[in-house]
């Protein structure tokens, strides 16, 4: 062995320590002129947001109802998270990149904004021209640009920002908004319903198979603001869509709040695939700064034989509180949840899913892979509920945890509630560290420890990574590497 090398166990400790020192490469701030409303939340602020967006009366009503309900709620504390007190009056609830009259084409978009997206690795231009992917980019609170809209429009697909949708398709939005996640659902859902600024709206008409991946990039840019986007996806009978969502934020000392809602409605025989690569700024090694990511995501498989699949790669955020769920109402509907959650440094994550089986012969699969390093806390929390009517329901849950340091935590909190005697529900979970045998085996075959750790972690997450669309899989793999940098090489 090389003399410079320390003993193998020290070496692997170093490597694992190295994992905690991976730097956040998306932490730049874009210097874009932004229109921020003063901090604080009141009925006036809600009215102001609504007015700024020129919304119809019914939407303002919806917001006000949500706001009034929010006032009666308390911040949930049940998760295995140590959430500092959040002063909801110290946040600005609306930040809009200031621009002249709305850009008519990409050339008119603020060049710095374009640069931001180029640095994120999503060149809107390139995406537009080469990959054939339609991208909607949401910077702070407002949707900046949607590509490939025309092409989609020819097929009857609506893909636009939710504020546009409110103007152009008020009936559709009104019909579906809040139908899956009501404003009474929880604290953050109420907050979002009151102050949501923008987000994406997707409608796939009957029988249409969306020919390209639809994608949204979210980025919080301005300091002291929160991002409250709202995504609404409706897949009508026999439709299919694959939707991607990516998130980043600049490096800042203070915590920023992100409280989003994603609602999905899946009708008869339709299928929606929703993939997320979440890479909000996670704070520095001492846990300063970072995003609080409190998200409510839920899909309603309303139609018979409909299918909803959630895939998420969670690497960012100081605190993650997120449970993408499926309500399986239609007969034979299918819900899937594939997740890789990586926590490092002082990150905390309490994430998982809910599968509510209501219809007959509904099926769900949950595969959750947690990787914790540094001083982080990573928890899986999931509910599988089978109501009395859901005969023949079937669920399989697997959640594994990998521990990369002796100071981190990996927790599992499954809730299994079965009220039907023909249902079959299985849950299994394991927790372990990377076994020395595996590392030894790799070393023996000439693979350095560093690469071996990378190999094993990638192999461990493979089952989920395979579910991501191609474009995202590459990025997700990269993210995993950055998060566990130096150990993966």
């Amino acid at each position: 062995m090389n003399q410079d090398n320390t003993r193998p166990e020290n070496q692997s400790e170093d490597i694992i320590k190295g994992a905690t020192s991976g730097e956040y490469k998306y932490g730049f701030v874009s210097d874009i002129d932004t229109d921020i409303i003063p901090v604080g939340l009141s009925e006036d602020v809600v009215r102001l947001i609504s007015a700024k967006k020129g919304e119809p009366e019914w939407l303002l009503d919806f917001r006000l109802k949500a706001y009034r309900h929010w006032l009666t709620l308390e911040m949930p504390r049940w998760a295995h998270l140590d959430i500092p007190e959040i002063d909801f009056q110290a946040i600005s609830y609306y930040a809009e990149p200031r621009k002249k009259e709305g850009p008519k084409s990409l050339d008119e978009v603020d060049p710095q904004l374009l640069d931001t997206f180029n640095r994120l690795g999503i060149s809107l231009e390139e995406q537009k021209q080469l990959s054939g992917m339609a991208v909607d980019a949401v910077l702070d609170s407002v949707s900046v640009h949607t590509t490939n809209k025309e092409k989609l429009a020819k097929m009857g697909i609506i893909f636009c920002s939710i504020s546009e949708a409110v103007k152009d398709y008020p009936d559709l939005v009104r019909k579906y908004l809040g139908s899956v996640v009501s404003y009474r659902d929880n604290f953050f859902a109420a907050l979002n319903s009151a102050v949501f600024s923008d987000g994406s709206f997707v409608y796939i008409p009957k029988g249409v198979r969306c020919p390209m991946e639809l994608s949204t990039y979210f980025r919080i840019n301005a300091a002291g603001t929160g991002q409250f986007e709202r995504t609404l996806i409706v897949a009508d009978d026999d439709a299919y869509v694959s939707y991607l969502e990516g998130c980043t934020a600049p490096q800042r000392d203070e915590n920023q709040l992100h409280a989003a809602i994603v609602e999905i409605v899946v009708e008869d025989r339709a299928e929606v695939k929703y993939s997320t690569v979440q890479n909000w700024y996670a704070g520095d090694a001492e846990g300063r700064g970072g995003i609080f990511n409190f998200v409510t995501k839920r899909g309603l498989c309303r139609g018979d034989y409909s299918k909803l699949s959630w895939t998420q790669v969670e690497t960012g955020s100081a605190i993650t509180w997120k449970y993408p769920s499926c309500v399986l109402k239609g007969e034979g509907s299918v819900g899937e949840f594939y997740s890789v959650a990586v926590t490092n440094n002082r990150q905390q994550a309490d994430t998982g899913t809910k599968m509510i089986h209501i219809g007959r012969n509904t099926r769900s699969t949950i595969v959750s892979k947690g990787i914790s390093a540094g001083h982080s806390e990573n928890a899986y929390r999931g509910l599988v509920k089978v109501v009395p009517a859901a005969s023949g329901a079937r669920n399989y849950t697997q959640c594994d945890s990998l521990l990369l340091s002796d100071t981190c935590g990996a927790h599992t909190f499954p809730y299994i509630d079965v009220q039907n005697d023909t249902a079959i529900v299985e849950h299994e979970a394991t927790t372990s560290k990377i076994s020395e045998d595996q590392i030894f085996y790799c070393n023996q075959r000439g693979i350095p420890t560093e690469e071996a750790v990378g190999l094993i972690v990638n192999g461990y997450a493979k089952e989920v990574m395979n579910k991501l669309p191609m474009e995202f899989a590459v990025e997700a793999q990269k993210l995993l590497q950055i998060t566990l940098e130096n150990s993966v090489g």
């Binding site: 295995h80 981190c408 927790h411 299994i416 079965v418 249902a423 849950h427 299994e428 927790t431």
Partner: protein, 447 residues
């Protein structure tokens, strides 16, 4: 309605009577328990985390009498009572409500170094030993029990003594009016000793409401072993809130099995704590639920020391409108290296209205551990049934055989062969719907 207030008020009003009828060592902790309860404000209700099907508030709400003046019951129990587990042992005693009654010749049947006596007497003889170090005093059931406890059973196995015969305690309920019994069972197994304890629960009267508020407080010292069997065979009108707390020292071994055959509403908490390395814990649970029974087992194991292993296996077969819940919390604290924690919960729903709620949970704060859990809920394998029927076994019999097979590995945990066989027989009898207290049960349908 807040059930807790009535108990606090009752205690405050009758504290002098309660304390006058109990030894000083049992009175010592009542103030502390009162503090805990006043801080709680209310008892856990359905919907609280960990109380998915059981509301302690509802369980304690009815107006139960408590025999705080210790009025004596006629002593005819010994002569008339027949336990379902006859002649397993001669070393038995009874708790009639919460009165300790020794079997005739109990002392002669015990070897030197094995003591079974009333908690009252132990409180006078060994006042320093009647509380375990790891008793979860802030558990509301423990606190309520501490508030009203006046008697119970004390078992002590002295250092190095091996006593193979199980020590049996029959919990008997006998009262004409609704009643709450605050029972406490304290077991001390000293260094290198080895013992087994069998507790069974039987009511004498089936038509009276009855609440058993029970605390089993166990210390297993270094290199000692305790096999503990808890058999519940009560009536539809009985309620039970029980806490089993165990403090395990270095290299100690605990083997605990809980068998629920009949009852009304049951909540069992298991609280396992470690005071030394290399301890082993094995928890088994078998539940056969029928009618409108509600059976709730909640395990809380905190691994704080190194090289310990815990293994849980809980199996439920639920019939009729019965409800089952299993909560299993394994907490591996930072520094509890080389822990091996396993947990398994398997449930069979045998009727359309039965319901099961499982929450197997892991909290891991240490990387040198092996931890796993598994939970399944389902029904009998149709193919297995078909296979058996195609070979001429009637459907009901086939079902019975499969359920028996399903339950068998929990019973395998029972170390003593005669006891194991006896328990198998009882389980079989129960599945055929012909146990002593239950003859109207729809398990009859299986026949």
């Amino acid at each position: 309605m807040n059930a807790l207030t009535q108990y606090i008020e009752l205690f405050k009003a009758h504290r002098s009577t309660i304390e006058a009828n109990a030894p000083a060592a049992l009175n010592e902790r009542r103030t502390e328990a009162l503090d805990v309860l006043e801080k709680c404000g209310r008892l856990p209700q359905r919907g609280d985390e960990g109380y998915e099907i059981t509301s302690l508030n509802d369980m304690f709400a009815p107006d139960y009498g408590i025999n705080i003046a210790r009025i004596k019951f006629p002593d005819d129990e010994l002569s008339t009572f027949r336990c379902e587990l006859p002649s397993v042992t001669r070393a038995w005693s009874m708790l009639v409500n919460d009165h300790f009654v020794a079997a005739p010749g109990l002392e002669q049947s015990l070897p030197e170094g094995v003591e079974v006596m009333s908690l009252r007497r132990a409180a006078e003889l060994y006042p320093g030993m009647i509380y375990g170090d790891k008793l979860p005093v802030d558990n509301p059931v423990v606190a309520l029990n501490t508030l009203f406890v006046q008697d119970g059973v004390f078992i002590r196995i002295r250092r190095g003594v091996h006593f193979d015969t199980p020590i049996q305690i029959l919990n008997v309920f006998n009262s004409a009016t609704p009643m709450l019994a605050a029972r406490r069972i304290r077991v001390v197994v000293e260094e290198g000793a080895h013992a087994s304890v069998l507790i069974c629960e039987h009511p004498r009267v089936a038509d009276v409401d009855y609440l058993s508020c029970r605390v089993v407080d166990v210390t297993v010292a270094r290199d000692a072993q305790l096999d503990f069997y808890d058999l519940e065979e009560a009536t539809a009108r009985s309620r039970r809130a029980s806490v089993f707390a165990c403090d395990q020292h270095q290299e100690s071994r605990l083997n605990m099995s809980n068998i629920f055959l009949d009852g009304g509403m049951t909540r069992n908490d298991y609280c396992i704590r470690y005071s030394g390395d290399h301890a082993t814990t094995r928890l088994g649970g078998l539940v056969i639920g029928g009618r409108e029974q509600s059976i709730d087992n909640s395990v809380d194991i905190a691994h704080s020391t190194q090289h310990c292993s815990s293994n849980q296996l809980f199996k439920y077969a639920l019939f009729d409108q019965s409800k089952g819940a299993f909560g299993g919390m394994v907490n591996v604290e930072a520094g509890a290296r080389y822990t091996d924690a396993r947990q398994s919960n398997r449930n069979l729903l045998a009727s359309p209205e039965a319901r099961m709620h499982a929450m197997p949970q892991l909290i891991i704060n240490c990387d040198e551990v092996k931890a796993s859990h598994g939970a399944t809920t389902g029904q009998l394998d149709e193919r297995a049934l078909f296979y058996m029927r195609s070979r001429g076994i009637p459907e009901a019999e086939a079902r019975m055989m499969l359920i028996n097979a399903f339950m068998t590995d929990v019973l395998d945990h029972v170390q003593l062969e005669p006891l194991r066989e006896r328990l198998r027989h009882l389980v079989d009898k129960r599945l055929r719907g012909c146990n002593s207290t239950c003859n109207t049960c729809s398990l009859e349908k299986l026949k």
